[in-house]
């Protein structure tokens, strides 16, 4: 079987496996990237290219499988095919420790003279805390460059740190493919703000025997255009990868990503407290909706949405249960900014001097006085 057929076979196999799995907690998402790029492989002339990259990702709480294929057509008319499938599965956590087993296989083919394939497995041991973690890993497998397969061995260690919307990673790896050996040191950053996601990688091949040396770096930006589409921009330089067979190159690419399946569960990262219906789904006031806006660097902003009112007040353990009139901000929005401490708080709302009520957006709980009270938390 040629490498090109292997590439598409790997993608098709992964796709089939996803279609045949039935797991209630699983989530499958698909994307197609269509774009244009300019690329200059080391030792070759620069060329423009058009690309199409379908991908599918299947996730469960304990792991994920990703399959993707890329069709590239260069301005010379030559074509390149790449396909890969990678799976990663986690063991249950034992305190802060977690094991991970992953496998990846792929193949690529450029016209009729260059073809690659690889298959590797990796075991990784993580120590994970809420905002940081570290790992060590070992990899073994086989890779081929149009000839007899060569053994792959690699060891790596890394650490990551999260600060608000920013995730930083550093890693170092020592790899050996046949008689080629090299050591890479790499750092990366990932950040997301609203509709924009940024990624950047900076690394260096600090030692090598047959694998080249030098610095490399890539960056990419994704701008969401609605729920199912995004604009992608990327560029930089990547190093030769003797395992997957990619040759070092500089490039710039622009693409449109289309989500073929919207994520079933999108966990928002904004810092706004619950909106909409109250926790019990009933019994909360439909005439007042509470929104708690928390920014650690500022006092807490309480916003109450009331369709039609002359006076809106709140009372809670942050006002010594004294009624506090809110300021009208227009459009049915009433607000106040208060230095509310971190923790669990109780609140009620009163509209135009009527009875105290639990606003939607707060959790309703018995108040010990024969009624209910709203509860919200400030992290």
């Amino acid at each position: 079987m040629t490498a090109g057929r292997r590439a598409w076979a790997a993608t098709a196999a992964a796709g089939w496996s996803l279609l045949t799995v039935r797991a209630p907690a699983a989530q499958t998402t698909g994307t197609v990237d269509v774009g244009l790029s300019t690329v200059r492989y080391d030792g070759f002339l620069a060329s423009g290219a058009a690309s199409m990259t379908p991908g599918v990702r299947w996730e469960r709480p304990d792991g994920a499988v990703t399959a993707r294929g890329t069709y590239l057509r260069f301005e010379s008319g030559h074509r390149s095919l790449q396909g890969s499938v990678a799976g990663s599965f986690f063991t249950p956590a034992a305190r802060r420790w977690r094991g991970e087993f992953s496998a990846a296989a792929g193949a690529s083919r450029y016209v009729e003279f260059a073809s690659f394939w690889h298959a590797v497995g990796e075991a990784r041991l993580h120590i994970i805390e809420a905002e940081r973690g570290a790992w060590i890993s070992g990899t073994a497998g086989r890779a081929s460059y149009g000839s007899a397969p060569r053994g792959v061995l690699a060891a790596s260690a890394g650490a990551w740190l999260r600060r608000a919307a920013l995730t930083l990673r550093v890693s170092a790896s020592l790899s050996r493919v046949g008689d080629t050996s090299y050591t890479d040191v790499e750092s990366s950053a990932h950040a997301g703000w609203g509709q924009v996601t940024l990624d950047a990688t900076l690394g260096g091949r600090v030692w090598s025997r047959g694998g080249g040396r030098g610095m490399y770096g890539e960056t990419s930006a994704a701008l969401a255009l609605g729920e199912r589409m995004a604009l992608l921009l990327s560029g930089g330089r990547y190093p030769t990868d003797p395992i997957s067979g990619s040759i070092a190159a500089r490039y710039f690419a622009a693409a449109i990503r289309i989500h073929t399946a919207a994520p079933r569960h999108t966990i928002s990262r904004d810092r706004t407290a619950p909106r909409g219906a109250g926790a019990d789904g009933a019994g909360t006031s439909t005439s007042a909706r509470l929104e708690v806006q928390v920014d650690r660097s500022r006092p807490v902003r309480l916003v109450v949405h009331v369709a039609d009112a002359i006076r809106v007040e709140v009372a809670g353990d942050f006002t010594d249960w004294q009624p506090l009139a809110l300021s009208r901000a227009g459009g049915g929005i009433w607000e106040v900014v208060l230095p509310i401490t971190s923790g669990v708080h109780r609140i009620d709302v009163r509209i135009d001097g009527a009875a105290w009520i639990v606003p939607a957006g707060a959790t309703r709980a018995p108040d010990d006085y024969g009624g209910d009270v709203g509860i919200f938390v400030v992290p």
């Binding site: 209630p24 907690a25 989530q27 990237d33 774009g35 790029s37 290219a49 690309s51 996730e59 709480p61 792991g63 990703t66 993707r68 956590a93 991970e100 992953s102 990846a104 990796e122 990784r124 993580h126 994970i128 805390e129 809420a130 790992w135 995730t167 890539e218 994704a222 990327s234 990547y238 190159a249 490039y251 690419a253 622009a254 693409a255 569960h265 966990i267 810092r271 909106r275 909409g276 926790a279 019990d280 789904g281 009372a315 353990d317 010594d320 249960w321 004294q322 971190s342 923790g343 669990v344 109780r346 105290w356 959790t363 309703r364 709980a365 010990d368 006085y369 509860i375 938390v377 992290p379």
Partner: protein
């Protein structure tokens, strides 16, 4: 009673009065309690003094009394509510340990009231180095949302060790949203927990050798 013993008892009683008076002078009655009627005020003050002597936070007790006053509750009900909260704070501290912060104790008391057992609180304490105020609040919210206590506790315990407060709040929001959309509370909790855990997995995923989008 022999004269010696009687003298000793008298001296002891006087000493107790002296200590109580001194303690009261050290901690004069909170002027905010002036909103309660006289009978309830003195009884609430006793509960608060006892809590202070036991090393429990007193502000939640004051606030619970003030809540009753604002809502026009009878004095007896206010005293009962404050006594019940003091007892819950004591149980929470027994489960969370002497090092628990006042917000943790308050959140722990709410969780206990919601139906979580003290073993759950103790397990949560052991599973997480950072403050557990938010995990406890999320646990309470889930139960209020109709999630069985066992399921809610299992989900929060599974997430607490490696999940940020903001993500836990997102998790709770996802559960609330799905319940509002018609999902069964237990299923909504499991799905949201799975979503959150897989998000974390993505961040540390060894297999995530995602090529840069568009890389030729």
């Amino acid at each position: 009673m022999p004269h010696g013993l009687r003298s000793l008892a008298t001296a002891g009683a006087l000493a107790a009065v002296f200590v109580a008076t001194a303690a009261a002078q050290d901690h004069p009655q909170d002027p905010r309690l002036g909103r309660l009627d006289a009978g309830a005020r003195s009884l609430v003050a006793v509960v608060i003094d006892s809590a202070r002597a036991a090393g429990l936070p007193t502000e939640p007790l004051v606030q619970r009394a003030l809540e009753g006053a604002t809502k026009g509750a009878p004095g007896s009900l206010i005293v009962s509510a404050v006594q019940r909260l003091a007892a819950d704070l004591g149980r929470a501290r027994a489960a969370l340990g002497a090092g628990a912060t006042p917000p943790e104790l308050e959140a722990g008391a709410a969780a206990l009231r919601a139906g979580a057992g003290t073993p759950v609180l103790a397990q949560l304490r052991r599973s997480r180095r950072q403050t557990i105020t938010v995990p406890l609040a999320v646990l309470t919210d889930l139960v209020a949302s109709g999630v069985p206590v066992d399921s809610a506790a299992a989900a929060v315990l599974a997430l607490a060790a490696g999940t940020r407060d903001a993500d836990l709040i997102d998790f709770r929001r996802a559960v609330e949203r799905d319940i509002a959309l018609g999902a069964a509370p237990t299923a909504a909790t499991a799905a949201a927990a799975a979503g959150l855990q897989s998000t974390d997995a993505t961040h540390v995923n060894a297999g995530a050798r995602d090529a840069r989008p568009g890389r030729p």
